[in-house]
Symmetry: C2
Subunit: 212 residues, 2 copies
DNA sequence: ACCGAACCGTAACGTTCGTTACGGTTTGAG
DNA sequence: CTCAAACCGTAACGAACGTTACGGTTCGGT
């Protein structure tokens, strides 16, 4: 019961139902019931089952729907000098931190983590693919281009990306998932993003600024 | 119904029951039932309820029990030069990665994350306190001592620790929680720990090695 | 206006599981 | 040995929820 609804053919009504499911997921987490979703979406359970097969199908479709909505930050490779790269990294990190700290992302990651524990669906895989991996796919070409332009120096681009991941997210994601209230302001996020980018450039840049 | 069993007075039999619960948690995740636990522990459900109050009480006691068993890596502040500090960081990072990638840690973090979503218990708080925060409490004195000895340079010790966290764990924990199979060998872990420590020293050390 | 498909709201069914109850057994103190 | 408390194994109860079924309604095509 997986492909009751094809990703490419979602009617407006179905999208509305998935948005309602998303809202339920944020409010109630994995404890959401088919009843609560149908109530929120003003639709019948029969429709939910006809469209999405079963509970897992509904959750899977919801995760996919959200993934299709998230605009992974686009990176421009036009001008490539150290300053432009730093600015790109800062912007990328800022968007990333903003997404990660959103209620939607937290709820989705939580349900995906708990499903990965029971092995009762592929939500973990999907979230991983559209979260971390999508970010890597976007940023790695930039890192490679920067290496070609002799701005960065590294041997393994994936390790390089993983270090950037660590410098940007640090303990933020796990603390949010565990319920810690970080209450990140946009100012905080910007400062953290700039700091992470500077540290990354210090580690991988070929012309590091002299330290004060 | 929280304090049916005091942490400081666990009989051997009770500890055995909690170990069985821990095993059930690793195998079945949050889907474990009181029946499966009683079967594994060869005890009656009545005993589980008498000792731990209810399902949440059992899970909470189990998380606490595991936390009391984990030996957070002890750091020695005896000799303090750059080489000794690096060795300490490497050892610390190695132990940390080993714990994080263990089946027990993954299962515990998963159940804590999903409970944090439903807000139905304080498991997230407990895991946070005994996981991330315990690590910070251990390492921060070392960082401060290293700063006093003019080996490291930083202004905020907590930010400094969070950067170390990011460099060591990177995307490892979230990938494991989402079900990605990293199959970390001890060799891999050692290499990653050494690399993270070197990067940390490069960022915060006062006598960074000249770059090749 | 007529028809059928899709959909809504609600009721009903069956399973799972948390929780409680109970009879039989072990264990340790006196 | 005796007795009471603790514990084991199992059965039973009740609630929650996934899933299905059904009667009434909307709506687009003819």
């Amino acid at each position: 019961m997986n492909s009751h609804v094809d990703m490419k053919e979602l009617t407006a009504r179905q999208q509305a139902v998935l948005d309602a499911t998303l809202a339920a997921l944020v409010d109630e987490g994995d404890a959401l019931t088919m009843s609560s979703v149908s109530r929120r979406a003003s639709c019948s359970k029969e429709t939910l089952y006809k469209w999405f097969g079963d509970r897992d199908g509904l959750l899977t479709a919801t995760v996919r729907w959200q993934a299709s909505k998230v605009n992974v930050p686009v990176v421009d490779k036009a001008t490539l000098d150290a300053a432009a790269l730093t600015a790109t990294l800062e912007s990328f990190a800022r968007d990333w931190l903003t997404v990660i700290s959103s209620g939607t992302s937290i709820a989705l990651n939580r349900v995906a983590v708990s499903h990965a524990g029971s092995g009762k669906s592929k939500l973990g895989e999907i979230v991983l693919k559209n979260g971390r991996n999508a970010m890597g796919l976007r940023l790695e070409p930039v890192l490679l281009a920067a290496r070609d332009a002799e701005i960065l120096a590294f041997t393994n681009v994936q390790d390089c990306f993983r270090t950037f991941f660590g410098l940007v997210l640090r303990d933020t994601q796990i603390r949010l998932l565990l319920g810690d209230d970080l209450s990140l302001t946009q100012t905080q996020i910007s400062a953290d993003a700039d700091n992470a980018s500077a540290q990354f450039m210090a580690l991988y840049g070929r012309n590091p600024h002299s330290k004060g």
